[in-house]
């Protein structure tokens, strides 16, 4: 977090009254500057060289200044009633800091990309000056007493409207972000998003949103699915982003299955990718590929079930040692199983054992799925918008994810889920209270494996080929990281984690080489500073902060809420 030393009180008191006009002027300058040209060179950062035709970055700058104006007006002016609830001063400080950073980085980017400071047009400087003024004003705004926004309630319809608007913002934000092809633009966009999020946190809005979404869980789920469903329609038939999106979904599906094992049952599985692999190999070897080694070619739905069951059987085998092994040792056992799976797939090439998998070459040329006359490889047009191959897989995977979420949350909120929490808390005591510890652990492995197996069969067709090197330990670590990053035991967390871990590397090609390095660092830093993940399950948060009594008191109500 960026900390800027506070300005001495005397200065604030003396110049405080100037903060408001100063801020408005700054925001105005920022907007005016953004409408002018920023750069002489039309080739860099999209095109920022034409006045009154703002490019993506200029739109972001304008959005930030509009937000700043809203906050200023809430502090003093027509929106003060809103200002009574939200901590506008802190929010403005956060926003202004990030906006200034944004503008500074934009100028740096232009300088670097176009080769020299001379490439910045006056518009750029005007916007920068505006950002500086907003920043200065934000330092002079005095915080004031606010009511607790966390407990504010609006009429139901308007709360639902908020959710819908939020989801729409996510939809268009994502589509917008994916449309950015320039890495600088993408990074700057992420900066804006971060800035806005922090502004929301500072204003107390995010906490409030959290409460709103728990009050309207169903609406949230529906809206989220609607957004996910609508996403392909924003892509205008382009399949490039849909390819990434369907990769993200496969990854998310597997991560969600793993989350049952790790997040709910509390068992660390370091070989989980093997379950996805088992499904994929079933899908591949039972496909109509010329290299498929199994003669039986049932309809795909049967293949899916077979894949799920083969995986589940493996889950049963891998879960069996939990009868005697737990904790770190279990993690190592699962790691061992994962490696055995990969090596076995690698070896079953006809020379070292029967030919099942074609060894390191794998099973290539897996044909696209067909349901009746619907071929997943073809482009279909719906509502005038062409939906190509990856869109088709995307919709199928969306169905699968919906199913996985259903399984996950229903199990979590049942007798079985309670049993899992009890095992996580104190295994011996759970056993002594009559909880079937071994059975529940096995169940977690089997259900998790089954779901991954289903996903795997689809993955085989989507990827066209299946090879052992797709199922190395690192992939298991990635899945685990998605859970850790997003938040153990929560659906939203894992989805966010999966998106971050799969999307960022795809969009940020320039750091492709440093991807793994940063990934390793990220894991270490997460464990150090926020081990419960970005969207933490309340209970998991407590488990990671055993000694924080205050937190326990604070979240008590939330946990009770989840129960009922």
């Amino acid at each position: 977090m960026i900390r800027i030393p506070n300005i001495p009180e005397s200065v604030v008191v003396k110049h405080g009254p100037k903060a408001w006009p100063l801020g408005l002027a700054g925001a105005g300058l920022l907007i005016i500057g953004s409408l002018l040209s920023w750069s002489f060179d039309p080739q860099v950062l999209g095109d920022l060289s034409i006045s009154f035709n703002p490019g993506a970055l200029q739109i972001m700058a304008i959005a930030q200044s509009v937000l700043a104006i809203i906050l200023l007006l809430a502090d003093k002016g027509p929106l003060t009633s809103f200002g009574e609830w939200a901590d506008t001063a802190l929010a403005l400080r956060a926003l202004a800091t990030w906006a200034l950073l944004f503008m500074a980085l934009v100028l740096v980017a232009i300088t670097v990309e176009a080769g020299g400071l001379v490439n910045i047009e006056p518009g750029g400087w005007i916007s920068f000056l505006g950002a500086v003024l907003v920043f200065a004003s934000s330092r002079l705004v005095l915080p004031r007493e606010t009511r607790d926004l966390g407990h504010a309630r609006l009429p139901d319809w308007s709360e639902i409207l908020v959710i819908v608007i939020l989801m729409a913002a996510i939809l268009f934000g994502t589509a917008f972000a994916l449309g950015l092809t320039d890495a600088w633009e993408f990074v700057l966009f992420l900066m804006v998003v971060t800035g806005v999020l922090i502004t929301g946190v500072r204003a107390g809005l995010l906490t409030w949103l959290g409460h709103v979404t728990t009050r309207h869980k169903r609406v949230l789920m529906l809206a989220a699915f609607a957004v996910a469903f609508l996403f392909p329609f924003t892509q205008n038939g382009s399949d490039a982003n849909m390819s990434i999106a369907s990769q993200v979904l496969i990854f998310a599906a597997a991560a969600m299955g793993l989350n049952i094992v790790v997040g709910l049952a509390g068992l660390l599985d370091l070989g989980y990718i093997a379950f996805l692999g088992a499904g994929a190999y079933v899908g591949a070897t039972m496909s109509t590929s010329a290299f498929a080694t199994i003669g039986w070619k049932p309809p795909f739905i049967v293949v899916m079930l077979v894949g799920g069951c083969v995986s589940a059987t493996l889950g049963l085998i891998i879960g069996a040692p939990t009868l005697r092994v737990s904790g770190d040792y279990l993690a190592i056992v699962t790691l061992g199983f994962g490696e055995i799976f990969r090596l076995t797939m690698f070896n079953l090439d006809g020379n070292n054992g029967p030919n099942l998998t074609h060894g390191p070459n794998g099973v290539p040329a897996i044909p696209d799925l067909t349901f009746g006359s619907f071929n997943f490889g073809d482009t279909h047009t719906l509502l005038g918008i062409p939906l190509a191959r990856f869109s088709n897989y995307y919709f199928l995977l969306l169905l699968l994810i919906a199913f996985i979420i259903l399984v996950f949350s229903r199990l979590n909120n049942s007798r079985i889920g309670r049993g899992w929490v009890a095992i996580r808390e104190d295994e011996k005591a759970a056993e002594a209270m009559g909880v079937n510890v071994f059975g529940l652990k096995i169940l977690a492995f089997v259900v998790g494996a089954f779901l991954a197996g289903l996903a795997g069969t689809i993955k085989a067709h989507q990827d066209v080929s299946v090879t052992p090197d797709q199922y190395i330990f690192l992939e298991s670590a990635f899945l685990l990281a998605a859970i850790v990053l997003g938040g153990m035991g929560t659906v939203a967390g894992v989805l966010i984690g999966a998106v971050i871990l799969k999307l960022l590397p795809e969009k940020l090609r320039f750091f492709a080489d440093y991807r793994l390095l940063l990934f390793g660092l990220l894991l270490v830093l997460m464990m150090r500073f926020r081990p419960e993940g970005l969207v933490a399950s309340r209970r998991r948060q407590l488990e990671f902060h055993e000694e924080d009594e205050e937190l326990a008191v604070r979240v008590e109500g939330d946990i009770a809420e989840v129960v009922i």
Binding site: I332, F337, L343, R528
Partner: protein, 328 residues
């Protein structure tokens, strides 16, 4: 043709020697897992990387200071270089990644360890031959993205000895010798010095050890450092044996060494040595004697993992560990 004819016996002894060599390497690394686990109950999953970095430390010393000379006197300097690199990494890792997690739930350090492991591998892969974010390579070091030849030392890597039908590589003698010496020194340290006794106390109850006036933080650093010294030496041994090293070498070796540590009873130093040797010999024998399609070297890692799982499931206290007595 009897079972004990000369050729069979030679093959057997040959595999035994190979197994002991491999086992010594495992044992050297395994001690690091065991010492740290004994004190912190932490599986330092990144220990394999310490071993890898040791090998790179030795390589760098040789290339930078001695321009790849092959005289025997270079070897001690290479070992020192390896130890500096591995101990430095281990101590930094303890200080900045593990120490803040001392009271965190067990999942946190394990995931941290995975993170460190990936981070260190990538650090070496990307930045070995140049200063980060530049292409400046003052010592003209080789690119670490693929295998790098390891400098050969005349006396230690020269022609093999031939005793009857059995071939003994000189590097094997180096490895086994290194293990024997390290094990003896370590045994002396743990059982005969004050710091060693402090280590034992911390491993049983850290808070109470504090109340005895033992500086627990220091003891933990010492434990990490000890493991790293042995891993660094193992890195040199591995380089001399295989003639090359690469940034991935820590993963499998680390996993095998961990198996060895568990096999011997994790937390128990003699156990790590015995476990390493047993695992090495078992692997050698499996390569030779498991018949049919599932034998031979393609499957040897599979059998090692099967052994790991069997040990964890059926004898988690290891070969030398006694079952913990749970008193009321």
């Amino acid at each position: 043709m009897g079972i004990f004819d000369q050729q069979n016996l030679d093959t057997f002894v040959q595999q035994l020697v190979n197994g002991l060599t491999l086992g010594s390497l495992y044992a050297l690394i395994a001690v690091g897992y065991t010492v740290v686990y004994g004190i912190l109950q932490l599986i330092n999953f990144a220990h394999g990387e310490i071993f890898m970095i040791g090998a790179f430390g030795a390589l760098s010393t040789s290339l930078v200071l001695f321009r790849g000379q092959t005289a025997l006197w270079v070897l001690p300097f290479m070992i020192i270089g390896a130890i500096i690199a591995s101990v430095g990494t281990a101590v930094l890792m303890e200080r900045f990644a593990y120490r803040p997690l001392r009271h965190a739930p067990r999942l946190a350090p394990l995931i941290t360890a995975i993170g460190i492991s990936v981070f260190l591998q990538e650090l070496v892969r990307l930045n070995y031959n140049h200063v980060p974010f530049t292409s400046w390579n003052p010592f003209n070091l080789p690119d670490a993205k693929s295998r790098i030849p390891f400098p050969q030392i005349d006396v230690v890597t020269g022609p093999a000895f031939q005793i009857g039908g059995v071939t003994i590589q000189r590097s094997a003698i180096f490895t086994i010798g290194a293990l024997l010496m390290c094990a003896a020194l370590l045994w002396y340290f743990i059982n005969r010095t004050k710091t060693g006794r402090g280590m034992q106390a911390v491993s049983q109850d850290a808070d109470t050890a504090r109340l005895m006036g033992i500086n627990v933080d220091r003891i933990i650093v010492v434990a990490f450092a000890h493991g790293a010294v042995l891993a660094g030496i193992a890195g040199v041994a591995q380089g001399l044996q295989n003639n090359n090293i690469d940034f991935r070498m820590g993963f499998l070796a680390g996993l095998k060494a961990f198996t060895a540590a568990v096999l011997g009873g994790i937390g128990n130093i003699q156990g790590a040595v015995v476990g390493g040797l047993v695992l090495g010999v078992a692997e050698g024998m499996a390569t030779q004697y498991i018949p049919g399609q599932f034998g031979g070297s393609p499957w040897k890692d599979v059998w090692a993992f099967v052994l790991l799982i069997l040990v964890l499931v059926f004898r988690p206290q290891g070969l030398l560990g006694a079952k913990a007595v749970d008193r009321a």
